[in-house]
Symmetry: C2
Subunit: 148 residues, 2 copies
């Protein structure tokens, strides 16, 4: 089985679209992350949900976690407000790793190796320059554990 | 809002239970990972799905990804067989980071900071030595984005 056959229906989001809407949809649908594309549809980032939550952490707390304690509860409860009016691009950290992509003809082992190495629960399946689908870690495990 | 109120119903697995069953359930329920406990119920590891898929990658391919290409398709399709007869403990890598845990009275920002730092879509909520719940990144984002 090749990556192209493993791919499943998965929403991708344009880097210029609204960040609040994208994160709300991601959370409501319990998606493991966001596949962010440019306007031409090419993946610019594959963001695991564990990295999307970084937007909730003020940068001075990212630098010094002990500072989280000084934030009042009310401030913490309003921490998502900074998403308003931003685009999805704001969610992509400057030091984001390469997007987790695999080739359409990659095997289960090759896809698993990319996910493990980039610590990504998602892999975008590319046929040349074209995004042809997305594979989640859940989907990969289901396929690997289903006797054929 | 504190971590204890954010916690949701989430299955935990005993390190001595069957690995095949645990991974199958995780994949079927599309869970973002596994919270692995010892027999006393204390978390020993919080494994993101992106790390559970490592079990599908033979160790010589983890060391040298270019070797993935030499595996035949048939070998790849049977790669999950090595899970059979193993316990969940076999899924926990030797170099696994500390389990992603938060304190019952931690805020949204403190939970988000732990998830981001440990790249974990899950955090186990501890009240002293007792596991009192689990928070997923999806749940955290839903709570943060819901106007109160």
């Amino acid at each position: 089985m090749h990556a192209k056959e493993m791919a499943e229906d998965f929403p991708v989001v344009d880097a210029e679209s609204d960040a609040w809407d994208a994160v709300t949809r991601m959370a409501e649908r319990r998606l493991p992350g966001l596949v962010v594309t440019d306007t031409a549809g090419k993946p610019v980032s594959v963001l695991p949900s564990s990295q999307v939550v970084r937007i909730l952490v003020p940068s001075y707390v990212q630098d010094d976690p002990s500072l989280a304690g000084v934030l009042s509860e009310r401030m913490c409860d309003r921490v998502a407000d900074k998403l308003r009016g931003k685009t999805v691009r704001a969610l992509v950290p400057d030091d984001a790793p390469e997007p987790a992509t695999v080739n359409a003809d990659d095997t289960i082992v090759e896809v698993a190796a990319v996910m493990a190495r980039l610590r990504s629960p998602l892999a975008a399946v590319m046929d040349g320059d074209e995004l042809v689908g997305v594979i989640t870690a859940s989907r990969l495990l289901q396929l690997a554990l289903t006797p054929r």
